[in-house]
Each structure stands twice: as C-alpha cells, then as structure tokens.
C-alpha cells in the first residue's frame, strides 16, 4: 500500500496548492501499534503526516458532519470549508449516506477514493500474543509480525487478523469519489456475505439469547460504538432522552439491550458494515451480529444495500405495495 500512500500525499499537497480544499481529513499514526488516528490538515506541508496502510480502519466519514456546522460564537455570514477526505469503500458509502441525509454537502467535499484490501482488527492481532500487550507490529507483505510487551514474537497471516467486516466486504473501492488513487480487485466471495449472521441464525432461540447476554453483559455504556459510527449524528440520542426516558443509564441488561436494539434499528437501511462500532468497542462486543442481521433482512426483503449510490432511496424511506407481509398475523 506504500505507493498509494505516496500518491495520496502528493494528491493532498496538490489539492492544497491548487486551493481546491481548505481542510483535509486523513489518517495519521497513533501512539500504539496498529492504530491510526484521524488527522485534520490545513496546508500542503502537512500532507507528510498522512499514512495509508492496513491499520487505517477508522471510518473518517464519522468526523465530517462536525466540520460543516457553524462554529459556536461565529456571527454573520459563515461559509462552510471545502473538505477533502480519503475514503475506502466503506467510508465512501457512509459519505453517500450522509450526503443523502443532508449532514454533509456534496459540493463542499472532495473525496479521494482508495481501494482497500481489508483492515487489521487490532484486537485479533494482539490476541495472537495471548494476554500480553502489543508492543510492536510490522506488516510484511501478507503477514504480520507482532511483538509482545514481554518480548514474545509471533507471525500471523494478515488474512487471519482482518476485521470481520473486511472479511465479508463486497465494496472495497470507493463508490463515490472525485479522484480515485487505486482500486482493488480483491473481493469477498458472494457466498460468504452474511455468513456470520447465517451461522448465528442457525442456533436455537435460547442459544442466541444466551450468547447475546454474554456479549452485552460486557457493555459498559461508554457509547464508543455510537460515537464512532458515521450514522450516529443525532443531536440527542434516544439513549440520552429523558422525556420519554427510553432506558436507564445503568448496565442492567434490559437497559443494555434496549440501547443496542434501538441503535441497530436506527441503522436499518443505513449501516454499511464498516465495522467502526466493533473496532471502537473497548470490550470486544460483536455488535456486527445485530447490524448485519438488519442489513441482511433489508437486502433480502427490500432488495437494497445501504448507501451504494446517491440516487437510490433508503430502504426505510420507501416502500412497495407488494412488500413482504408474510410475518403478519392472520386469524
């Protein structure tokens, strides 16, 4: 991916030099291995901070809506900045969704599309070391070398430590862009789409419940899933509303369930399975299990995949007279 990184830096520098953009949102290294952080650049010389590699898992679309809001205290006319952003397949789909939901203006946005071969799930990579912390990691072709805080070294295949979303990803190249730096031909086989959901569906009702209880009993209500999600831009989340109060603020399981079910339902027809929620969760809860279930149902029932184009109507903002109603109760 290093050629892409070089091309990206050049492109971004050019965009600033040609005064096409005022601000660029990309990835830069964070303080720990296999982690990057969103960065906000405002000049051509800063382009050297950018990185593009298999740890750029952050869905940058989540950072965009705030940039187009008039800052507090600014009086009179205010012109939104022209913002450039680097987008892999999932980021670009989220951008499509945000444009459709009028959270970001298409005409103030410059999207640099990049193809993606999948991002590393940091927890999986660290998991190769057991309970040891991850001190260092080196990507080396198709494998990854991880070094533990006790000095232990392990080598794992990149494919084994990719995020679950990336394993099942069908849209690796940007679906919306102003310039595309690279595409990728790698694609998950059609058959494996929703494989994780299908496997879960095959369990019994009580097994499913028990499994989710064990997952959700780890939830600490930190809302990292919500805050990392590009779709969760609500001014006030239902989880924070006090009138009506939908749920309590504790980690009592019924409250946790209402939160995660509510969030999953709000994602219906909108989730692009970027995996940001899973990557953000400090407790490793498999939130995809819910979101992908809804994605699967939306696709099977309404024939739509979320946010693939600006033109297609969102699944829950449309209907067909002949939509399935076999689930309804008859006398």
């Amino acid at each position: 991916m290093s050629q892409v990184e070089e091309a990206l830096k050049k492109e971004v520098a050019k965009l600033f030099e040609e005064e096409t953009i005022d601000l660029f949102v990309g990835h830069e290294p964070a303080g720990v291995p296999l982690k990057t952080s969103a960065c906000f650049l405002s000049s051509a010389d800063e382009a050297k901070r950018l990185v593009w590699n298999a740890s750029c898992a952050t869905n940058l679309a989540a950072y965009l809506p705030q940039l187009f809001k008039r800052p507090g205290g600014v009086k009179g006319e205010w012109i939104a900045p022209r913002v450039g952003v680097v987008a892999k397949g999932c980021d670009s789909r989220s951008i499509v969704g945000l444009i459709k939901e009028k959270q970001i203006p298409r005409d103030r946005l410059f999207v640099i599309g990049v193809g993606c071969e999948g991002m590393i799930d940091r927890h999986k990579a660290a998991g190769a070391l057991g309970t040891m912390g991850l001190a260092e990691a080196k990507i080396d072709g198709s494998s990854l070398q991880v070094i533990g805080t006790d000095g232990t070294q392990k080598r794992v295949e990149l494919a084994e430590v990719l995020a679950d979303s990336c394993r099942e990803c069908q849209h690796r190249s940007a679906v919306l862009f102003d310039v595309a730096l690279s595409e990728t031909s790698v694609q998950a086989p059609e058959t494996s789409r929703y494989a994780d959901v299908a496997e879960f569906e095959s369990k019994s009702l009580d097994e499913r419940w028990e499994f989710l209880v064990s997952e959700f009993s780890r939830c600490i209500r930190c809302y990292a899933c919500r805050e990392a999600c590009p779709n969760c831009y609500c001014q006030e989340c239902f989880a924070d509303e006090t009138a009506p109060k939908w749920l309590g603020v504790t980690t009592d399981l019924p409250d946790v369930f209402v939160f995660h079910l509510g969030r999953a339902l709000h994602q219906a027809g909108r989730c692009v399975d970027c995996g940001a929620c899973v990557a953000a969760c400090p407790q490793g809860i498999d939130l995809r299990l819910l979101n992908q279930k809804i994605n699967k149902d939306v696709e099977e029932l309404f024939g739509v995949q979320s946010s693939l184009s600006l033109e297609e109507a969102e699944a829950l903002l449309s209907f067909r007279m002949e939509d399935d109603q076999s689930f309804m109760t008859e006398p």
């Binding site: 879960f200 569906e201 009702l205 009580d206 097994e207 499913r208 419940w209 028990e210 989710l212 239902f238 939908w246 749920l247 309590g248 009592d252 019924p254 409250d255 369930f257 209402v258 079910l261 509510g262 999953a264 339902l265 219906a268 819910l290 279930k293 809804i294 149902d297 939306v298 029932l301 309404f302 699944a315 829950l316 903002l317 209907f319 007279m321 939509d323 399935d324 109603q325 689930f327 309804m328 109760t329 008859e330 006398p331």
Partner: protein
C-alpha cells in the same frame, strides 16, 4: 405493570398481559366495534391508541417488552386503506425488520405480532387478539428483556 416477579410467574393464576398499539382509524375502531357488538374478547389487553401504524416507533415495542409486557400486538389499516395514504406501508417495512430482529436476538416470536384490521372487522380483531393471547400464554411470562426494580445490592 408493577407486579413483582413472584406474582407474575405464579403458575396457573398467571394471565398474559398484552399491550396493543392500535391505529385510530381502523384497528382501534375495530376493537371498539367488537366491544359494542358484544363479541367476547379476552380482557388481557391494554390498548394504546395511535394516529397511524406509521407513528409506531419500534422502540415502543421494545420498551413495552422491557417494562414487562408479555406480548405486544400492533395493528393498522390494510394496505391501501391508510388514512394518510401510505403510513402503514412505511410501517410495514419497519415491522418486518423489528419482528425478525427480536426473534433473532432470542425473544419468542409469539410475543410480538402485527396485523391489519379495519374499522368494520370487529370479529377479525377479536380473533386475532385471541390468537395472540393464546400464543403468548403458550410461551409463558416474559422474562428475557424485563427490567426488574428489586433491590440488587
């Protein structure tokens, strides 16, 4: 819905409690018609009148389950009959996903049901409600999502 756990699960005496969200223009009138026509339907239901099935936030259903409803019935106008032209058709999509998701997470599918009942269908309303109550009775009192407020320390 404040009965304590003990009262709720007591074997033979237990009666399922159903929350019914009924569209003002059809099912609510249907339920009313069933009443005035002296069609017997079980008393286990608490009706919440809504202006349209499209008004029903899926969270209403989730919240009803969390606060202790054993079952939820949502009923609106037949497709094509919506007072607001298409509220029920948008709703139908939400309901399909909600029903599927709840079963997927392990909530018995009997607990959450959806139907179309017109203002003229008093008999149909009574039949559907009866069916829902019996189905919920068969799966027993809800416990999975119910928030209990007993002391925990």
């Amino acid at each position: 819905m404040t009965e304590k756990k003990g009262e709720k699960t007591s074997g033979n005496g237990w009666e399922p409690r159903i929350v019914a969200f009924l569209c003002n223009w059809c099912s609510y009138a249907g339920a009313d018609l069933a009443g005035v026509s002296r069609i017997q339907y079980p008393p286990n239901v608490r009706v919440i009148r809504v202006p349209c099935s499209g008004r029903i936030n899926p969270l209403f259903v989730v919240k009803a389950l969390q606060t202790g409803a054993d079952g939820v019935l949502v009923s609106g106008c037949h497709p094509g009959d919506c007072h607001y032209i298409s509220g029920n058709l948008y709703a139908r999509r939400k309901f399909a996903l909600l029903k599927s998701l709840l079963e997927y997470v392990g909530i018995e599918p009997e607990r959450v049901q959806f139907s179309w009942v017109s203002a003229a269908e008093g008999v149909r309303f009574a039949e559907i409600l009866g069916k829902v109550i019996e189905a919920v009775r068969a799966v027993g009192p809800a416990s999975k999502m119910v928030k209990e407020l007993e002391e925990v320390t």
